[in-house]
């Protein structure tokens, strides 16, 4: 017992040390992005780190220029490397009629409009997350084929409790007896958000799940699932809410309007919550790291690195909680749409 505890402590300290080193490593990163010669602007640094970009900056000297894919009605699809926007001295230059400002590609002629389908840092992270998920869960599924009807082994035993938790604690109680149809979506949703959140905490990683584009799509999918599967009771509840005096429905349909707005506020709360929780976490971490450069002090650096280490653990917790909350509320909304109402209210 004591030995196990000591081993766990040792492991914990090792992870702590690792995160501490990673955080220290991040300093050089943050300092570099602060720019040489220029006054250090903490707001700019943070915005830069949590926003999307067309290149993947790991640290100075190691930048991956990602492909730019543009669509415009007059030129069709254009593909080129984002390295074209940088001159010989790493200054931003115009290229092929486009200029690159604050992570956005803008056409020089103001009359043209373009759609940017570039493989940005977030899209690249999205690909990595997707590949990781497919690799991990096909491996888990192989485990079930290999160890049929026995206990889980290896990676399977790590993910089985989580899968069962999602099924039994999130999907089943919130959706009810029709839960089986929605379990694959909920599992994908949960693990996508969880993996994305955790990967986003790595140094140099993109802020994928803290981007509204990502959360909007996820909320949209839940919205579609809820309303496509909504049964008679669900729509009846919206347009003719039971248990409400008639003058709230006629002649001015106050309740139907409120309920109709509710259809949209639900997914909106989903997309906003995830975006805010993850982005706020990144801002807190980056602010604490930024303190070092505001004070130009090693002492502050070591102090903030220690605090950041602790916050990092909290962020791992938040990453898990947010995945849970998003999945839980999605299940709840679907559950409300498919439940057989017995009008008990």
């Amino acid at each position: 017992m004591k030995k196990i505890f000591r081993n766990n402590m040792l492991k914990f300290l090792k992870i702590n040390l690792l995160i501490f080193l990673v955080t220290l490593f991040n300093f050089s990163n943050a300092k570099a992005s602060g720019g040489e010669g220029k006054e250090f602007n903490i707001g700019e640094m943070i915005t830069h780190h949590i926003s999307d970009s067309h290149e993947w900056h790991f640290f100075d000297g190691a930048t991956l220029y990602l492909p730019v894919i543009l669509y415009s009605s007059d030129r069709g699809i254009e593909v080129f490397s984002s390295a074209n926007f940088y001159g010989d001295h790493h200054e931003v230059v115009d290229y092929n009629g486009y200029k690159y400002e604050h992570g956005h590609i803008v056409p020089l002629e103001s009359s043209r409009s373009i759609l940017d389908f570039s493989i940005t840092k977030n899209v690249a992270t999205l690909f990595l997350t997707a590949i990781l998920m497919v690799l991990v869960f096909t491996a888990v599924a192989r485990g079930y084929k290999k160890n049929a009807n026995t206990g889980p082994r290896g990676i399977q035993s790590f993910f089985e409790p989580i899968i069962v938790f999602v099924r039994d604690e999130i999907v089943k109680p919130n959706i009810g007896p029709k839960y089986e149809k929605f379990t694959p979506y909920m599992l994908t949703l949960f693990f996508f958000i969880w993996f994305g959140n955790i990967l986003g905490l790595l140094p140099g990683a993109a802020n994928l799940t803290g981007n509204t584009a990502v959360t909007i799509v996820l909320a949209l999918l839940t919205f579609i699932l809820v309303n496509v599967n909504g049964n008679k009771a669900y729509w009846g509840h919206i347009f003719n809410t039971p248990g409400v005096p008639w003058w709230l429905k006629l002649p001015i349909p106050i309740m139907p309007v409120v309920e109709l707005i509710g259809i949209f506020t639900k997914p909106f709360s989903l997309l906003l919550r995830l975006f805010v929780a993850i982005t706020a976490g990144h801002i807190v971490l980056l602010s604490l790291i930024g303190l070092t450069f505001l004070f130009h002090s090693w002492a502050v650096g070591i102090g903030s690195a220690l605090v950041v280490t602790v916050i990092n653990f909290i962020e791992i917790l938040v990453a898990t909680i947010q995945a849970y909350v998003f999945t839980m509320f999605s299940s709840l909304y679907i559950g409300m749409a498919v439940a057989d109402h017995h009008d008990d209210h």
Binding site: V123, A130, F137, P184, L187, T188, A213, V214
Partner: protein, 164 residues
């Protein structure tokens, strides 16, 4: 605000990739995993149920065995008791029969003794009579001078009688 505005490109890629991941994982992972979990759960439930049934069966068998054992014991006791009763009865009968036989033998013996006694007495009587006659004859035949010699003579004869 720039931070809040969603990029159209990222939304497009997010939708495409999420759906691809969803359909891939649904086919390759979630469905097989869910069915395996279900099968395993069912198997575990079945095994537990079977174990319970087996336990009940064993308990039933034990009870049956106990009952059979008890019955066997009771039968054994009954057989032993019966045997003892029969034995006792036989003993009693033997005893009573023996006593009857003994009584009869005793009676017979007594009767025989009586008869013998009677016969002996008759014989003695006859003998006494004949002896008396003999003695009287001999006394008569001899000339006896005195009483003393007569008396010794009588004794002598009596002695002869005893010898017989």
């Amino acid at each position: 605000m720039d931070l809040l505005a969603p990029g159209v490109g990222l939304m497009f890629w997010q939708l495409v990739i999420f759906l691809v991941v969803f359909f891939l994982l649904r086919a390759l992972a979630w469905k097989p995993i869910m069915s395996s979990l279900k099968t395993r759960d069912a198997m575990i439930d079945d095994s537990i149920k079977q174990a319970e049934t087996a336990r009940d069966e064993v308990a039933q068998m034990k009870a049956d065995n106990e009952y059979l054992l008890q019955e066997a014991r009771a039968e054994r006791d009954k057989i032993v008791n019966d045997a003892l009763a029969v034995a006792n009865k036989i003993k009693e009968e033997a005893k009573s029969e023996t006593s009857v036989i003994a009584d009869k033998m005793l009676q017979d013996a007594k009767a025989t003794i009586q008869n013998e006694k009677k016969a002996a007495l008759t014989e003695v009587k006859d003998l006494v009579g004949s002896l008396s006659l003999e003695i009287a004859e001999k006394v008569m035949r001899e000339k006896l001078s005195d009483d003393a010699s007569q008396k010794s003579l009588v004794d002598k004869f009596l002695k002869d009688v005893k010898v017989n």
